[in-house]
């Protein structure tokens, strides 16, 4: 009943949520923009007045800017590749009828429920510790010299940790997609003479393309802002300083709110570029 009356009531009832969400977004955004044009050093004199685009220039010309962008893209890219590839394989595995299917599926999803800080700590102390870690024991068992993961292979380590966290998400979405595949299509392809690998390439993968794009889109949005994993493990050292982490360091470690805010605005722009880019690909894929 879309009468004039019911529509205005609907608007009225939605208003609180809309206002709240808008405020939630607009207030921090405005504050970030406001501070980004100020020289604001809380412990060294406080608000020192307007500086125009000075912060923006300094943030970009800093020697840590491009390495941070590079680190961000490497982590996002690495995690995406690992989660999508392993996600597809795991989803196909879990789709097979097997004993204890329910329990196995819950176990696979479990890492997603672990807080990022906790999972990073678990990895750091239980697996990657060069003396007591499980991986160190494994290396020694085979007579190899244990790797001090977080300092020698810091980027790989962080990608591993984050992938472990996001693999369940990818698996879950891809599993539901695989379950919606009409089994008669696979049987038809089998009758048509397509062996297993060709069935995967010609039937399963195209069927999954939409789910894969959704996984990539959602994960990218979240992966651009990972923080806890880096904070807990390397603290931004050994080339693992991402853009998010650089901003954090500017604001809290250097106590330079203005410079950090300018970085924040860059991050917003970067995220939007990625989002537009992805929307185009996804849009094309979702239309079909």
């Amino acid at each position: 009943m879309a009468t004039q009356h019911s529509r205005s009531v609907a608007r009225l009832m939605m208003a609180p949520a809309v206002v709240l969400l808008l405020g939630w977004m607009l207030v921090p955004l405005t504050m970030t923009l406001y501070f980004s044009f100020k020289k604001y050093l809380p412990l060294r004199g406080g608000d020192l007045g307007w500086v125009g685009f000075d912060n923006y220039v300094r943030f970009v010309s800093s020697s840590s800017f491009w390495p941070a962008v590079q680190a961000t893209l490497m982590i996002v890219g690495g995690v995406l590749v690992i989660t999508v590839v392993l996600g597809v394989l795991l989803a196909m595995l879990l789709d097979q009828p097997m004993w204890g299917q329910g329990v196995v599926r819950i176990l696979v999803i479990a890492p997603f429920f672990v807080m990022p800080t906790v999972s990073a700590l678990v990895w750091k102390n239980m697996f990657m510790d060069p003396v007591n870690g499980l991986l160190a024991h494994l290396w020694r068992f085979f007579g190899a010299e244990p790797i001090s993961w977080l300092s020698e292979a810091s980027m790989t380590s962080i990608i591993m940790i984050v992938s472990w966290q996001w693999l369940p998400f990818a698996t879950l979405i891809l599993l539901t997609a695989i379950q919606s595949l009409d089994s008669e299509q696979l049987e038809a392809a089998e009758m048509d003479g397509a062996p297993v690998l060709k069935r995967f390439y010609h039937i399963i993968l195209p069927h999954l393309s939409r789910a894969i794009t959704i996984v990539i889109l959602i994960q990218t949005i979240f992966l651009l802002s990972i923080f806890a994993e880096i904070f807990v493990t390397t603290g931004g050292a050994f080339g693992t300083r991402t853009l998010t982490y650089l901003i954090f360091q500017r604001v809290l470690e250097s106590q330079n709110v203005g410079l950090g805010s300018a970085g924040g605005v860059y991050a917003i722009i970067l995220a939007n570029i990625v989002a537009i880019f992805l929307m185009r690909i996804v849009g094309k894929n979702l239309d079909a």
């Binding site: 009409d182 008669e184 299509q185 049987e187 038809a188 392809a189 089998e190 009758m191 048509d192 003479g193 397509a194 062996p195 060709k198 010609h202 039937i203 195209p206 069927h207 393309s209 079909a288």
Partner: protein, 334 residues
């Protein structure tokens, strides 16, 4: 060539035996229809022939060679699925070409065969569309196209018309029959619709609970059903079954008389009853007659112009030469 022979084939899912030992021969070029109520094992039987399910014991021969352990792609059979199972992300052309591409034919040969199949099936204008943009009947034809380009030894159809509306179903039925006349290839067709079976088949296989109840030509099955199940399944409307005193007069446990073999009259007849429902189809009229003292309802088929209504008392006379007699086990008495 496409002679298919099943030798004491059985199939069990776990402890449940869905097909007890079964023997059947399908001759080359024959249009065979498996018909039976849902859950009778007819689709399973087709999938066993296709190789999509492994048989539990027994053997399947195709053209005299043992094909029991041959994978589905190598059996030289093509299948049309109930859901059509078209590949949604491929155009019609690519769908039809898929089996040829898998067989690694050269592109010119693929194009030639796809064009000719599309010509036969009136799909030439749709080759660059995707399945999602086609109507049900067109999708059906694409599925058939994908089957015929392979030039298989036999076609397997798994209830291909059940997703189509009634008018389209009649049209496709004709098209499939024509296709069979033209290609003269063995076809095995699974359906639960006895009308499809009667109209299309050279040979009907009536199945119930995995057991073959009778094999024969449509008219054989219609004229001399071997048991009560076949008698009741083949023919529309269903055959009337009468038990008790009337059956004993004919020396049988049960007698069966088809609705079209009963004459109706206003004034005189062997049996009488009250019309409960009359269905006027124009060409025919079906009367559902109650209170006959013979069976709960007797169905009678009369000419379209016969105009009895609800509540009328009518008299009926069965044609004596076409009364089917069955014994206590439900088997036909000759």
């Amino acid at each position: 060539m496409g002679r298919i022979q099943l030798k004491s084939v059985t199939k069990s899912f776990g402890d449940v035996e869905v097909i007890p030992p079964l023997d059947l021969t399908i001759e080359d070029g024959e249009f065979t229809v498996f018909v039976g109520p849902s859950g009778c094992g007819k689709s399973t039987l087709l999938r066993l022939i296709a190789g999509l399910e492994d048989i539990t014991s027994g053997s399947i021969d195709i053209d005299g060679a043992d094909a029991t352990d041959v994978p589905p792609a190598k059996r030289g059979l093509a299948m049309v699925f109930q859901s059509y199972a078209l590949y949604p992300h491929m155009t019609v052309r690519k769908n039809i070409a898929f089996p040829l591409r898998m067989a690694k034919l050269d592109q010119a040969e693929i194009d030639r065969r796809v064009e000719s199949a599309a010509g036969v099936l009136n799909l030439t204008d749709y080759l660059d569309r995707r399945p999602g943009q086609l109507s049900g009947g067109q999708r059906q034809r694409v599925a058939i196209g994908r089957a015929i380009v392979r030039e298989p030894a036999a076609f397997l159809f798994d209830e291909p018309l059940s997703n189509l509306d009634a008018a389209l179903r009649v049209g496709m039925r004709l098209e499939i029959s024509e296709l069979h006349e033209r290609l003269a290839t063995t076809m095995i067709y699974v359906t639960h619709d006895q009308v499809e079976a009667m109209t299309m088949a050279d040979k009907i296989v009536v199945l119930q609970a995995g057991v073959i109840e009778q094999v024969g030509s449509p008219l054989e099955l219609y004229r001399t059903p071997r048991n009560l199940f076949v008698a009741g399944f083949i023919g529309s409307p269903k055959m009337n079954f009468i038990e008790g005193a009337e059956a004993e007069k004919h020396g049988a446990q049960t007698i069966g008389i088809r609705p079209e073999h009963i004459a109706v009259s206003e004034t005189e007849g062997k049996w009488s009853g009250v019309v409960s429902v009359s269905e006027h189809l124009g060409s025919d009229t079906f009367f559902h007659v109650q209170n006959t003292g013979l069976a709960e309802t007797i169905t009678v088929r009369a000419d379209g112009e016969v105009g009895f209504r609800h509540g009328d008392r009518i008299h009926m006379t069965p044609r004596a030469d076409v009364i089917h007699r069955f014994d206590a086990k439900g088997l036909r008495i000759e």
